[in-house]
């Protein structure tokens, strides 16, 4: 067993894990943060995406011990303490970017990474390519793409530039 220390949703977390424990298992089974889902065993579906040190990562394809010292943010860490949703969550609601909701935590985390890493604007094409690692069986993606585009001006507090690349 290994002792690890990391920060999860802004709070220090300490856990005892096996070497083989996956980050998603640590989050779900030990820290009881079950918003992060597991949808495949081939690292393809993206239901498990969380933010690790500011990058969107498939938590089913990372060992918990590899997250030693990392800043991890999960879907549970997005809303404000008073329950106000993160703009990305709000836009998923507004634009009906989910149906069954299974892929949604991963979609929201990937969407936030996409918006944050494109401060000069984000095209529909870039959103669609940016979601290659997230599979949704229900929505047909259209409303997910709309939700992410709509979150961009809210997260950057400015209008989306025209024809940004």
């Amino acid at each position: 067993m290994a002792q690890i220390n990391l920060t999860v949703n802004g709070k220090a977390a300490h856990a005892e894990v096996e070497s083989r424990t996956l980050l998603v298992e640590l989050l779900r089974d030990q820290l009881h943060l079950t918003g992060t889902h597991v949808g495949c065993d081939t690292s393809q579906c993206g239901a498990c995406v969380v933010s690790v040190d500011g990058k969107s990562v498939k938590s089913c394809t990372m060992l918990a011990v590899q997250a030693e010292g990392a800043q991890v943010i999960t879907i549970e860490g997005l809303a404000a303490a008073d329950g106000t949703l993160h703009p990305m969550q709000e836009m998923f609601r507004e634009h009906h970017g989910l149906q069954c909701g299974f892929c949604t935590p991963g979609m929201v985390m990937s969407g936030i990474d996409l918006v944050e890493s494109h401060p000069d604007g984000l095209t529909e094409q870039q959103i669609r390519e940016g979601l290659e690692g997230n599979i949704c069986r229900c929505t047909g993606y259209h409303n997910i793409v709309k939700a992410i585009a709509a979150a961009w001006p809210l997260m950057h507090d400015k209008q989306m530039p025209q024809a940004a690349e």
């Binding site: 070497s19 083989r20 996956l22 065993d41 690292s43 995406v49 969107s56 990372m62 996409l114 690692g133």
Partner: protein, 264 residues
């Protein structure tokens, strides 16, 4: 997943020692191939040696070569201005590997050590005549790849960096599997000081290979048109549920012509 001991050494020598001391120990880079393999219990290492603490990331220009350290991620290669100015085809190749999350963690060293027959990097390494630099020697691309999932690496040998001679121009064209994004067929074409080079991944039944007939045709005239009558023997192709041998042989020609047209 079977359990194992986890080590994260801080020096290359210590990592090599940890791998040498235990025949069942395996290195871990980005984990994008290795962790799925562990999850499916297709491997049972006694120890896993994480390479993340060895300082093996970075990209530099060295004379007429572009040198990329083993733990450099696909994302870093895709975003690097150094790569974009020296070998834009390599940045383009990296930017289309898997998906965003795979590119954040997957590494060039891991991809080359694994030598998956449908991985992208092997075609660039072979076409550009790159050198694989390891913890103990330098291996020419031509000697490095030894068939599917097989390389010249010894079990306790680590790739530390890859040195790519800068070509006159080059391009990579890939027909991705729509689900995994791996190459169903990928062709890397380069115009180098030594002549035209064409390396094919995803298609061959023995891993990445050079296409001698296409190279000869491009040496005559470096145009897509020069390739229009060059065929690829079906007997060399891999056939599976994604594509039969005839279709793959056809795609090799299409991707090669696209790559020649995209060369820069």
């Amino acid at each position: 997943m079977y359990d194992f001991e986890y080590h994260k050494p801080g020096a290359i020598d210590d990592a090599v020692k940890a791998l040498g001391a235990d025949a069942e120990a395996k290195a871990l880079a980005g984990g994008m191939t290795f962790i799925p393999v562990l999850k499916q219990r297709l491997a049972k290492p006694s120890a896993v040696v994480d390479l993340a603490g060895l300082g093996l990331t970075g990209i530099r220009r060295e004379g007429n070569a572009l040198v990329i350290k083993a733990m450099t991620t696909h994302r870093e290669v895709a975003m690097s201005s150094e790569v974009a100015s020296a070998i834009p085809a390599l940045a383009e190749l990296a930017s289309n590997i898997g998906d965003r999350q795979v590119r954040y963690r997957g590494t060039i060293g891991g991809s080359l050590a694994n030598n998956d027959p449908s991985a992208c990097y092997p075609s660039a390494v072979l076409a550009l005549g790159a050198t694989i630099v390891t913890s103990r020697r330098r291996i020419a691309a031509a000697d490095y790849f030894q068939g599917m999932f097989t390389t010249a690496l010894e079990p306790d040998e680590l790739i530390t960096e890859v040195s790519f001679p800068i070509p006159e121009k080059a391009a990579y064209a890939k027909f991705p599997n729509p689900a995994s994004r791996y190459a169903m067929v990928g062709v890397f074409v380069a115009k180098t000081a030594a002549g035209a080079r064409v390396a094919v991944t995803g298609a061959g039944n023995d891993g990445v290979f050079r296409h001698a007939a296409m190279e000869a045709a491009l040496d005559q005239s470096f145009t897509a048109d020069a390739l229009k009558d060059v065929t690829t023997p079906e007997s060399l192709m891999n056939g599976d549920i994604h594509a039969g041998t005839a279709y793959r042989a056809h795609l090799v020609g299409v991707m090669a012509r696209r790559a020649v047209m995209a060369c820069k």
